[in-house]
Amino acid sequence: METVFSIKPLLAVLVSVAAVPFLIWSRNPNTRETWTFAAAFVKFGIVLSMLPAVLSGTQIVCKVAQVMPGMAIAFRVDALGMLFALVSSSLWIVTSAYSIGYMRGLNEHGQTRYFCFFALALSATIGVAFAANLFTLYLFYEMLSFATYPLVTHHQDQEARSSGRKYLLYIVGTSIGLVLPAMITAYALGGTLEFSTKGFLAGTGSPALLTALLFLFVFGFAKAAVMPLHSWLPAAMVAPTPVSALLHAVAVVKVGVFSVVRVITGVFGVDLLQSLHLSPVLTAVASVTILVGSFVALSQNNLKRLLAFSTIAQLSYIVLGLGLLSPKGMTGGILHIAMHAFGKITLFFCAGAIFVATGKKNISEMVGIGRRMPVTMSAFFLGSLSIIGVPPCGGFISKWYLVTGTLEANQMPILFVLLASSLLNAAYFMPVVYRAFFCTPEEALFENRVQEAPLFCVGPPVITAAISIILLFYPQPFFRLAESAVRAITGG
Amino acid sequence: MIWELDMAILTLVLFCAVGAITVKDLLGAAILFGAYSFMMCLLWAIMGAVDVAFTEASVGAGVSTVFFVAAVFRTTRRTKD
């Protein structure tokens, strides 16, 4: 595999950090948002510029500093990271637009702070995506944790405060309490932290130790919200919706999952996991999360909390896919990072738009809302289809691959889990949609008059929903990335 | 070194020290501490450490006792133990 040195990954990471001073010193909101957009586009541009090289199988490497012997701050762009970076940087643009609409629509306070930390969070996300070793990954992982804290607690009220506490306790607690020792152990065992396609732990420790290590990692990256370390996610829904949307549907949670993927593939390596017979355990954990998450989502009334539990369940698909250790399953899992992102962000955008337009948060209060906000609710419908995994949306592809993966791995119970989960997804999404559109005029809580949220709020969900649909038919970049990533992992 | 004197004075020093910390009056403690310093000075002279003895004579017996008394004068003599 060809390796190219380039400073681009570093630039991609730093763009949004560099934007922060401009954001702070902007004189008025318009300049500030212009800067945000500029940063978002530049970032996306840089990421995109690396895409052809990555697709052609080249790795882009950038070593920033050697901080300890055998430990460096270094970036490496491979297919997996590229996929994740592409998703998050593209969605940042959309989210920026949405943020403007949402924040202005609600006339929120502290917008400068909001945009700054948003930019920082994005930097961290890209950093995680491009991390060449576990240390760099951990660095940006922590950075992300701290950068998102002010976003989560943006409202600065009692609820935000307690949620913020919970958020930090889970995220930072696990990363320090579980990941750090695991990482150090790995370092002590392997003598390095560099991700490699075969992992670097093979043949270094006793199986029991390695197993323990794996679980330290999987649960330690609590952003992946694997049960029982999931409850920060619903709590974090107190954040403004764009935050929930980008961070808790895309950046934060995906960073968690992405980290798990990295660890499984880059630290342990598929072969090692197979030799350890860890696949069933992983899949079992993921399945439990999927099912329980879905069931809990059924009983939610608050729309954002519903989405949160849905996210919990969906994230475990990815873990599940990886845990299957079969090429198809892994492709599905990795692809699901992208597909779920577009689907779920649409849903969050819609929830936010509803809140902006009507101030409603609960599903029971949304009866008949489809008449008032048809565009939004259509987007919502598309997004839920994607999550459920039904054509014409991108979610279908990833689910399909997952299903084939289970077949490939010959794990029938998992298949049932997937199916049951899809049903459950349908069961908690469809009533929302149904009640929004199909209700008697008496039941409707809204006047039968179209009154959408501001354009900046409505546009983004429409765009993402559209992309979601497009992805079903043209999943090429993501698909190829996922495939090449899997090829690299399995060495096929 | 003159061991007979040495042992005698050592024993005395012990009494002095116990006295200095048990007496229930700070001025008394200061004075006894002075006596303790005298003994120590003797002890060092006995062991041939003339310079140390000299220093202890000037410091321990002279100045530090005066300091103690001055401090007690500026505070109080009362003590509960």
Binding site: A65, P69, H109, M143, Q156, R161, L168, I176, L180, Y187 | -
Partner: protein, 497 residues
């Protein structure tokens, strides 16, 4: 002249102390420039020494021209060169940051304050640079004595706290002296290297064992190792901020340095780790220290006291790391001396800035501070992150080494304690951030852009050094590898694996 740097290092501040003292009586305006100049000279000497050590290896300076076992020698090697630089930097930065407060607080006694300040730095530098066990004691007393003076000028309760410190500190120093006496009685020498040369024949001697134990207990008292820490929190809390910001970063760390010096150079690792077999016990003590420090820090309601207890926990890190008996642990301990000094300095300077504006440092006075003093709080948070151990701040790396050492030694208790204390630190610092972030907005939850909040930032003379330190945390973190490969790895004898 460059040949004389080891002497100049200590002499420059020492001589300036007398000038400052005189200037204090004659014209107070000269005090600060004199102090800065002398510390600058010391800092330059330290830097050039550091450079020379890195380039050419250890430097020996014979004071009075006498050869070591008879005269006193200064030995600069890989272990103390970085500490020397550290001391100078911390002292200079704090001097810069605190001069306003000093002049406001001490008025006519400014001269005396600066005299003691410089003397304290002299003592610390001397402790670090000296190669003679007894000379170390004298310098230790200089540092402590001036420390007492600096601390006692604080708040209402400072004298009592200081008096307790005096008691404990004196016991500590005396124990150290006694330990040196025990070594002297069996070896007949006071020079560290010379003792180390003689000692291998005496490993079975009970006096050597006792000497080690007594020295350690004495130093533990001085560095506030857990059950012996009782003097520290009050002393640091009630001390005036300018002195606390000097003493807190340096005193305990230099004591840790002395402990490591004793372990590595005087008693030799062979004796300390192999013959003795008290490693585990000490590390368990360290575990208790860390846990208790963290728990006690949780119960505090003001900044300085909280940081003081954090220091207690951090001392546990270093002692534990040094006693793990392997290379990684030792590296971590030495690295943490540097890092912890910087982190503590950062925190204390931030506290200084807060105190300067708010006239208080209780948690309740922090309300809304992130709005009012964003830069100060930013640096404070950075320091906090470093204490927590978040990369790329330097706190992470020393913790990394410590945990690696614990793993290699199979001492999971220590590892758990480290992680536990990191978690507690998260709680501690985010509690403060919460207060600073949330409190005044409780009633408002106001939507809409508020008018420009009244920003009341500390003066630049505090902010600039504060941010230098804060950024230094990151820079030191990033250059950890350089420090280790070029300096620290030579500081640890080959015998330790």
């Amino acid at each position: 002249m460059s040949h004389h740097f080891p002497a100049l290092l200590v002499i420059a501040p020492l001589l300036s102390a007398f000038f400052i003292s005189g200037a204090g009586w004659l014209n107070r305006r000269f005090c600060l420039p004199l102090a800065v100049a002398s510390l600058g000279v010391a800092g330059l000497s330290a830097l050039s020494l550091f450079w020379r050590v890195v380039q050419q290896g250890p430097v020996l300076y014979r004071l009075g021209g006498w050869d070591p076992p008879w005269g006193i020698a200064y030995a600069v090697d890989f272990l103390n060169a970085p500490v020397l630089v550290l001391i100078c930097i911390v002292a200079l930065l704090n001097l810069w940051a605190s001069h306003r407060q000093v002049e406001e607080q001490f008025k006519e006694k400014t001269g005396a304050f600066y005299t003691l300040y410089v003397l304290m730095v002299t003592g610390l530098l001397g402790i670090t640079v000296t190669g003679d066990a007894f000379n170390l004691y004298v310098l230790l007393e200089i540092a402590s004595l001036s420390g007492y003076g600096l601390i006692a000028m604080g708040e209402d309760r400072a004298p009592l706290a200081t008096l307790n410190y005096v008691y404990m500190g004196t016991i500590g120093a005396c124990f150290y002296l006694l330990g040196i006496g025990y070594l002297y009685i069996v070896t007949g020498s006071l020079n560290m290297a010379d003792i180390a040369r003689i000692l291998p024949g005496l490993y079975e001697n009970k006096a050597v064992l006792t000497a080690l134990i007594i020295c350690l207990v004495g130093l533990w008292l001085k560095m506030a190792f857990f059950p012996l820490h009782v003097w520290l929190p009050n002393a640091y809390t009630f001390a005036p901020v300018p002195s606390a910001a000097l003493i807190a970063p340096l005193m305990t760390k230099v004591m840790v340095y002395v402990m490591i010096r004793l372990m590595l150079t005087v008693f030799t690792p062979g004796y300390v780790f192999s013959t003795l077999g008290i490693n585990d016990a000490v590390v368990w003590f360290a575990v208790i220290a860390i846990v208790m420090g963290a728990i006690l820090a949780l119960g505090q309601r003001d900044l300085k006291k909280m940081i003081s207890y954090i220091i207690v926990a951090e001392v546990g890190y270093m002692v534990g790391g040094a006693w793990l008996g392997n290379r990684a642990g030792m590296t971590g301990a030495i690295l943490h001396i540097i890092n912890d000094a910087l982190m503590t300095l950062c925190l204390f300077l931030a506290v200084a800035a807060i105190t300067y504006r708010m006239k208080s440092y209780t948690f309740s006075s922090l309300k809304g501070l992130i709005r009012k003093m964003p830069f100060t709080m930013g640096a404070f948070i950075l320091g906090g992150l470093s204490i927590i151990g978040v990369p790329p701040t330097c706190g992470f790396f020393s913790k990394w080494y410590l945990i690696t050492g614990a793993l290699q030694a199979g001492h999971y208790g220590f590892m758990a304690a480290l992680l536990f204390s990191s978690l507690v630190n998260v709680v501690l610092f985010f509690r403060i951030i919460e207060i600073g972030f949330f409190e005044p907005f409780n009633e408002g939850h106001g939507h809409g852009e508020h008018g420009p909040e009244p920003m009341n930032e500390a003066p630049l003379s505090i902010l600039v050094p504060l941010w230098i330190v804060a950024l230094g945390l990151v820079v030191v973190g990033v250059y950890t590898s350089e420090i280790i490969t070029h300096v620290l790895q030579f500081a640890i004898p080959k015998a330790i694996l």
